[in-house]
Symmetry: C2
Subunit: 309 residues, 2 copies
């Protein structure tokens, strides 16, 4: 897009944000990308999440959920800080004595920066819904591999005025562990199923190959490599603007990256292959409000019946 | 308790943790107090949360939810760092260039501390379920005040081997805003209702006055003052041990603290009074597993029917 189109798209995104606020679907939280969600927003989010459960009920996925913070060693071991250091959220706390606490208090009351008084804890905000699962899978998997689904809060340090670009959001995630053929077949099955699901809700969903926002110049090469090998797909839906659709579902094939990092083995002793897919739940909800209007009572009957059967 | 009783209680808590793990109700996450929750655990948590909604449906509370991270200025304005600096979770990220990113990467791969490479972001982990609500209430309230309910993830930096002492957990929260009489009457009504609710689930619930874990020597005085003025109540239930019950629900009367800090005004122009109560959802779930065993199918019929009517 040229600069004028960019500005127009930005203003369209701002209008959409203001509409969401006006209808109390989101509640401004003082910082970008960390707003509250209203009752009607949550009602749609829960209904979509339940719909995902219904259409995948026959797959036999095991459900669990992890808290928004995870073991810091996970992001150290998966090289997250090499690839996305600018997006990380490390949790720091105060480890000092009473005198140091008084100095900290004075700094804060004087409006001065106070990060220097803190130290790192053992936890970081979870940057990818599937990360906390892998260290729990260490060891030899059963024949046929494993399928797990989760609903986790995820953090990315990327404040933005676009409602769809949040610092903190929920992902309904599925992770498949197994041999290469099974994992790729599963990913391909879900790519079709995900597009069908979103289209059944009246959303103009389109799949595409994609890449992650790797940091720096070296990151450009990694992103190129990811595109070339088709390791990442997304399903895109118009949300903020018609011109530039938003990814509401993303699929990553990790090859043996997590299998070898965490010692997740197939029955023949090889590092297992893994793939995951995640629905960005808030983005799906926003896409529905964009497509069908801000009052769920006025949504098309077919959409309402699919969400609330 | 004496030292021997303490050690026995610690070992009973460890046994309970191991039982929860064995039945895949919780999934160890590598660090204390940040474990995953299994499917059956979540099923009970959702059922209890829905039960809370049912018994309070007539109150007309407005529902919303806030993400696990909130505006850093909130904890600065409410003096959180004066009172609980050791419990805070400030979110730090990397703001450097490519050269600095390479240095960070080298530190991490060498196993060295890397917190010094980070800077504070605009967000912190939310330490109290009700905090993000107050800045959204600035201004004059309608006659009769306001009642809001939320389900928020809360963070406290207090790693512990006790399953009930988590770094990250969910709170089902209610906040009442209004004049002093209305707010106190509402708090008292819920104190009775909360005890009744927990007892109806077969839990030996007992209310008590309580205090917050204020930091340092000055904190001891604040805690004493809080007890004396009966600003905080808790409902306690045996979970880890019979001797030392665990708070599963807590009630705070804030007087005009938030009303004056955030300019929340009653129709006559006074700073509003506020009170809140929150159920620690994971603790309630653990109390139920402790009281009735690790298989929900074998729980007493009366409890099952109350949770899954």
């Amino acid at each position: 897009m040229n600069a004028r189109a960019d500005a127009a798209a930005g203003s369209e995104a701002a209008d959409f944000y203001n509409d969401l606020v006006k209808h109390r679907l989101i509640i401004p939280g003082g910082v970008q990308g960390a707003f509250g969600r209203g009752a009607e927003f949550e009602k749609v989010l829960e209904a979509f999440n339940a719909l995902v459960s219904r259409i995948s009920a026959g797959d036999g996925a095991e459900f669990c959920t992890f808290p928004p913070v995870i073991d810091r060693r996970i992001i150290e071991r998966v090289d997250y800080m090499d690839n996305f250091p600018d997006l990380c959220g490390a949790v720091c706390s105060f480890f000092g004595n009473e005198r140091e606490a008084r100095a900290l208090s004075e700094k804060i009351h004087a409006g001065e920066p106070w990060g220097g008084a803190l130290g790192m804890t053992q936890v970081v905000l979870n940057p990818a819904a599937c990360y906390p699962l892998y260290p729990t899978l260490t060891g030899t998997q059963a024949q046929g591999g494993r399928l797990v689904t989760m609903l986790n809060w995820v953090f990315r340090h990327e404040p933005s005025p676009q409602p769809t670009r949040m610092q903190s959001f929920r992902v309904r995630e599925f992770v498949r562990v197994g041999n290469q053929d099974d994992v790729i077949a599963w990913r391909d099955m879900w790519l079709g199923r995900g597009v069908d699901l979103l289209r059944s809700l009246g959303l103009a969903a389109q799949p595409d190959v994609a890449s992650d926002p790797f940091f720096g110049r070296a990151g450009k090469m990694l992103a190129g490599n990811q595109l070339e090998q088709k390791l990442k797909y997304e399903v895109l839906v118009p949300v903020n603007t018609g011109d530039k659709p938003t990814a509401v579902c993303s699929f990553n094939f990790h090859q043996q990256h997590f299998g070898s990092t965490f010692g997740i083995l197939t029955p023949d002793g090889q590092a297992a292959y893994t793939a995951c897919l995640g629905f960005g739940l808030e983005r799906v909800v926003m896409a529905l409000f964009k497509a069908h209007g801000f009052k769920t009572a006025l949504w098309p009957d077919a959409v309402r019946q699919r969400l609330w059967p």
